[in-house]
Every structure is written in structure tokens, then in C-alpha cells.
């Protein structure tokens, strides 16, 4: 079942161009529904004990393992649901898109790669699926087929490839030093081999490489360009989903192999700068999509800061921040799809599209962390995690989070003021694209209402994610489903 979450979307993506038109419509969503169901099962099972599968039945340090703990299951579920909600559909003006099959294929590939990123327990395998997600992302980003999108995607591709190159060099370093690629094996080896400048250099290179997709500060300047030119749904996928999975890969590496203060501090400082630059740049944005891009940079910076906090508390906060952003940002991009990029034209939009405006208010409130909404709990966990660490950089990070939230509130409320203001903007496209966004809103409100119920499983997931010894024990003792094949070789 674990491998199926990856294999099924891949299979569907390969076969999609060959199918008759009718089947093309339904195959992708059906597969995603199946993956969502798998994800729920995995998460549910993992609450008892995480499950491990050795791909190809080779004992773990040799072959590749997929490790499904609660977080992985949860993310698989989230990937399927979010992808389903952001499933590419007709072009903005309602015309059928001749390229739609290709976009569907790429979206499925992206979903498969994301699932693999969540599950994989092998360093190079993570790299391969990161690349798959990246290439599918490049394709989708260029899919709006405007010249600006092509240029932005070209720049994105080059930056991403350079990042991957650095990551590959980092993996080379680690493999050269430790002689293995399996994360569990590396976790065992790390204290004696990798916790030195050399191993950390490898981590740094991998962090910078994977940081490109997870909008890490210093390597995220592609985001405003790409999000402003790509289709909003694609931006939503990139900002909402892919960034989180790249982040999750980094976090696994951090938790299992590099639980050392230097690595966390690196994450902390870069995350902090990401928050600062992202939120401040968004403050001056006059373009809705770029505003979302910058705000997303800020939010991911917060996620980096959260994951930098050592121990289950930090992971808990990180998961909460990431999941919250996963729900809110795609929804906001869907609103951007409806409203277009021009903020000034939104004046008085609340009269033409009251529901969309109300949804915007809801998401904005959750984003800045107004209490009953999930955004508050994420922020609270993040801050209390930071406050629990010794004073110094950690508290500075807390201060940064607090002050930038004020900035965030100002620019979001400025938009709310425009929406509900008394001037009338020029054009409002009133189409029925609020549905997706509305579903996200329902999810958000549902999470808010069921927060006391969700807290315990989430905490369990964070504990599992933090449990390095458990991970190693599970993987090393992974039962091979059948005894070694009786080789007939002499």
C-alpha cells in the first residue's frame, strides 16, 4: 500500500495520454482519491506503529525503504486532497485547454513525487523524487504559456538546477564520508562520522539545494516572479504543497542525521531572515499574486524556524505551521485566480462577490493568528516552542515572528479595507471559482472546531517524527515479506 501511493499516480500519468477523452477526465481524480484513502489508512495505522516497506525486498541498508509514520501518512493525504482541489481545469476564459492532458500528467507526476518525498527513507531517492517534483513544477509553471512565464520559468529552472547540483555534491560528501544512503543507517553512523565540519557542509549544501523549492531565504527570489506569471493553481501547488514536502525532506535529514545545534541554528537564522524579508516585501506589494508569494516566503520562514527548535515541541509547531499554510495559501491563490493581480481594482469587491470577500477575511484572520482559528494554534505552538529555548537567538526569532505579524496584519487589513471600502473598482470578473476556496475554508473551520480532537494525534505524530531510535530500529529490523529468493546461482 505504501508503494502504491507513488506507483498509482505514476502509472496514471504514463497512461493518461493514451486513454480516450472520457477516461482522461476521471482517471486522475480517481487515482488521487485512492491515494487520499491510502494516506488516511497509513496515518491511522502509523498511530499504532509506523510501517516500513523495503522496496524490492532487499534488506534496508542495501535497498531503498519507504517509511510511513504518522506525518508521512498525513502528508500523503494532504497531497492527494490539495492536488484534487487544485486539479487543472479550463483556462480562465472558460475555453477548453488543448494542453490539459499534459497538465494533468504533470500534476499527477508531481503528486507522486510529493508522496515519495514524504515516505522515502533514502537520501538519493529523496533527491530523485525532489527532481521529479521540480521538473514537473517547471513544466506547470511554464504552462500558462505567456512569454513572461517562460522567462520566469527559465530563471527558476536554472536556479533549481544549480540547487540540485549543490544538493548532489552534498550527497556525494555524505556518501563518501559515511558509505551509505539509507537514512536509518546514516542515523546510526552519524555521531561517529558525520557530526563534523565535513558532514555539516554536506547538510548545508543539501539544505541550500532543497531550499530552492521550499522557498528558503537566499534562494527564493524565483518565487515572486514565478507566482506572478504562472497560473494561480500552479502557484498554489508550488507554494502550498511542494514547498512543504521539500521542507519535510530537509527536516527528516535534520532530525535523523544532523541533530546538532549548528544545523538547527542554520535553519533558524535563514528562517528568521525569510520571515523578515518576506513579510516586509509583501507590505509594499501592489500586486495580489506577488503579495501572496512574499507572504508565503514569510510563512515558510516561520516553518523553518519552527522545525529548527529541537525536540518534539518544535516538530509539533512545524507540522502545525506547515499544515496551516497548506490550507490557507492555496485557497488565497484560488481567490487570486478569481480576482486577478491588481489590488487597486479590488475596491468595493465585497459588494459584487460577498462570499469571496468573506472567505478572504477568514483566511486573513487565520493567517495572522486570531484565536479560534487554526492559525493561532500554529503560532502559539511556534512561539511557546521558541520561548522554551534559552534566551538569545531563539527569543530574537520569537520577537521577529511577533513584529512581522503586525506588518502582516497591516497589509492584509489594507486589502480588507479595499474590499469593503466605499470606492468602486473598475472591473470584477464574477465567475464561480470560489468553490475550491470555499472547501478550504470549510477545512479550516473544521480544523478550528475539532482542534481539541486533532491535538492528540498531531502530538503523537510529532513524537514519532522526533523518535530517531524508533526509526532506526523499525527500519533496520524491517521484515522482508518473503525469505531471500532461492538464487540458483552456483
Amino acid at each position: 500500500m505504501i508503494a502504491l501511493t507513488v506507483a498509482l499516480p505514476l502509472l496514471a500519468a504514463f497512461l493518461l495520454p493514451l486513454l480516450p477523452a472520457l477516461a482522461r477526465q476521471f482517471l486522475g481524480p480517481l487515482v488521487l482519491l485512492a491515494v487520499a484513502a491510502f494516506g488516511l489508512c497509513l496515518a491511522g495505522n502509523a498511530l499504532d506503529a509506523p510501517s516500513v516497506v523495503a522496496i524490492g525486498d532487499f534488506r534496508p541498508p542495501l535497498g531503498i525503504v519507504f517509511y510511513a509514520d504518522g506525518v508521512a501518512g498525513l502528508f500523503v493525504f494532504a497531497i492527494a486532497v490539495v492536488t484534487l482541489l487544485l486539479w487543472p481545469c479550463a483556462t480562465p476564459n472558460g475555453q477548453p485547454d488543448p494542453q490539459i492532458t499534459r497538465k494533468h500528467s504533470l500534476t499527477l507526476l508531481m503528486a507522486a513525487a510529493s508522496c515519495a518525498l514524504a515516505l522515502s527513507g533514502d537520501l538519493f531517492n529523496i533527491y530523485v523524487f525532489y527532481e521529479l517534483a521540480a521538473v514537473a513544477g517547471y513544466g506547470l509553471a511554464a504552462g500558462s504559456r505567456t512569454p513572461a512565464a517562460q522567462v520566469a520559468t527559465f530563471r527558476f529552472t536554472l536556479l533549481g538546477s544549480l540547487g540540485s547540483l549543490l544538493a548532489l555534491i552534498g550527497i556525494t560528501l555524505i556518501y563518501f564520508r559515511a558509505g551509505s544512503l539509507n537514512l536509518a543507517h546514516l542515523a546510526e553512523l552519524a555521531p561517529s562520522t558525520l557530526h563534523d565540519p565535513l558532514g555539516l557542509a554536506g547538510f548545508l549544501l543539501i539544505l541550500l539545494g532543497f531550499g530552492v523549492k521550499s522557498e528558503l531565504f537566499l534562494v527564493n527570489s524565483w518565487a515572486p516572479e514565478v507566482y506572478a506569471t504562472a497560473e494561480s493553481r500552479v502557484s498554489a501547488l508550488l507554494a502550498g504543497l511542494i514547498s512543504k514536502l521539500a521542507l519535510l525532506a530537509v527536516v527528516r535529514l535534520l532530525v535523523l542525521v544532523f541533530p546538532v545545534p549548528e544545523a538547527s541554528q542554520l535553519l533558524l537564522v535563514l528562517g528568521m531572515l525569510g520571515i523578515l524579508t518576506g513579510e516586509l516585501a509583501a507590505y509594499r506589494a501592489r500586486d495580489f499574486r506577488r503579495l501572496l508569494a512574499w507572504s508565503s516566503i514569510g510563512q515558510l520562514g516561520a516553518a523553518f524556524v519552527a522545525f529548527a527548535i529541537p525536540g518534539p515541541a518544535g516538530l509539533m509547531a512545524g507540522i502545525a505551521v506547515a499544515l496551516h499554510h497548506l490550507m490557507v495559501k492555496p485557497a488565497l491563490f484560488l481567490l487570486a485566480e478569481r480576482w486577478g493581480g491588481n489590488l487597486a481594482q479590488l475596491a468595493g469587491a465585497a459588494r459584487n462577490s460577498p462570499i469571496a470577500a468573506a472567505l478572504f477575511v477568514l483566511f486573513a484572520l487565520s493567517l495572522i493568528g486570531v484565536p479560534p482559528l487554526p492559525g493561532f494554534w500554529a503560532k502559539y505552538l511556534l512561539l511557546s516552542g521558541l520561548a522554551g529555548e534559552p534566551a538569545g537567538l531563539w527569543w530574537l526569532a520569537g520577537l521577529v515572528v511577533l513584529t512581522t505579524t503586525v506588518v502582516e496584519a497591516v497589509y492584509l487589513f489594507r486589502i480588507i479595507g479595499t474590499l469593503y471600502g466605499h470606492q468602486q473598482g473598475s472591473v470584477m470578473q464574477s465567475r464561480t471559482a470560489t468553490t475550491g476556496s470555499g472547501i478550504f475554508a470549510l477545512l479550516l473551520v473544521g480544523t478550528a472546531l475539532s482542534a481539541p480532537l486533532l491535538a492528540a494525534p498531531l502530538q503523537k505524530m510529532a513524537t514519532q517524527l522526533a523518535d530517531t531510535d524508533g526509526y532506526v530500529a523499525q527500519v533496520i529490523s524491517a521484515t522482508i515479506t518473503a525469505p531471500q529468493r532461492s538464487g540458483t546461482a552456483p
Binding site: F124, A152, T153, R414
Partner: protein
């Protein structure tokens, strides 16, 4: 092969990476950028194979159906990784070239700076907003965009404080 040969290989691999990255940073022509990426990737692949090399070992192919491996073999895992990396590199290269082709067809240039300027202009036009910043003018001299009142504006209008 002596230690010296290995160091020379290492220097060669790192040299390719350095030249490729320098090219990526400095070149402005899209085609040249793709070439630079290819050079850097070749270097990285060489580095990876180098990481699996063992002095005096043979290629990881069992000759003549014998599994008696008294002969040491080099590590097969980096080789498999490099195989993968090479194919990935070609895929990305093709995609980048296709994008360059379309950019050139649309904007009539292969110069990154010109293309970037055109792209910015297009983004701004699509969003319908005036350019808010230019990198040339110092931030102090730039007029602030007026559309919405900042807190300070209201302060100026109120009777007093």
C-alpha cells in the same frame, strides 16, 4: 594510479564545477547558461564516481560467471546514482532549451537582462499597477505610491494630537 592522479581528477572535477557555476553566474546568454549547467553537472558526476572509486579494484561486473570475488570491485552505488543523474540532467537541459526557444521567439532576444526587463514589464502590465520600485533610484527619492492611506496620513489630517 597514484595518489597524485586521484588528486588531479579531483581538481579536474572541482574545476569543471567552478567553471560551470561561474558561467551560470556571469553569462547573460540563455544558451550559454544551459551550457554552463551542463559543464557543472559533468563535474558533479565525475566527483560522484570518484567517491566510489577504490584503488586497485575492478569494474563491478562479474566476469565469466564466477561469483568467487577475490577481486575487489569498485562501489556500484555511486555509478548507479550517476547514471540517474546524467539522464535527469539531459531532461532538464531539454526543458531549459525549449524555454529559451520560446523566450527568444516571444521577445526576440537571448539576453537575460533584456528578457528580465521585458518580463517585469509584462508582470506589471498584467497586474495593472505602476512600477513601485526601480533598482536605480535610491529608495529615499522614490515617491511613495498613494492608493491607500498609511497610518501617518490620517495622523496629518486629524485636528491635532
Amino acid at each position: 594510479m597514484s595518489e597524485f592522479g586521484l588528486v588531479a581528477l579531483l581538481v579536474g572535477a572541482l574545476g569543471l564545477i567552478a567553471i560551470g557555476i561561474a558561467g551560470l553566474v556571469l553569462a547573460r546568454n540563455l544558451f550559454r547558461l544551459v551550457l554552463a549547467l551542463a559543464v557543472a553537472e559533468a563535474g558533479a558526476n565525475l566527483l560522484l564516481v570518484l567517491a566510489g572509486f577504490r584503488q586497485g579494484a575492478s569494474a563491478p561486473i562479474i566476469e565469466g560467471g564466477s561469483t568467487l570475488h577475490q577481486v575487489a570491485m569498485v562501489d556500484p552505488i555511486p555509478q548507479a546514482m550517476v547514471l540517474t543523474a546524467i539522464v535527469i540532467g539531459v531532461g532538464v537541459q531539454a526543458l531549459a532549451l525549449a524555454l529559451a526557444v520560446r523566450a527568444r521567439e516571444a521577445y526576440g532576444s537571448l539576453d537575460m537582462d533584456q528578457l528580465r526587463a521585458r518580463m517585469e514589464a509584462d508582470i506589471i502590465a498584467a497586474a495593472g499597477t505602476a512600477p513601485t520600485t526601480s533598482q536605480e533610484a535610491p529608495s529615499g527619492a522614490r515617491p511613495l505610491p498613494p492608493p491607500l492611506p498609511s497610518p501617518a496620513r490620517i495622523a496629518a489630517e486629524e485636528p491635532s494630537s
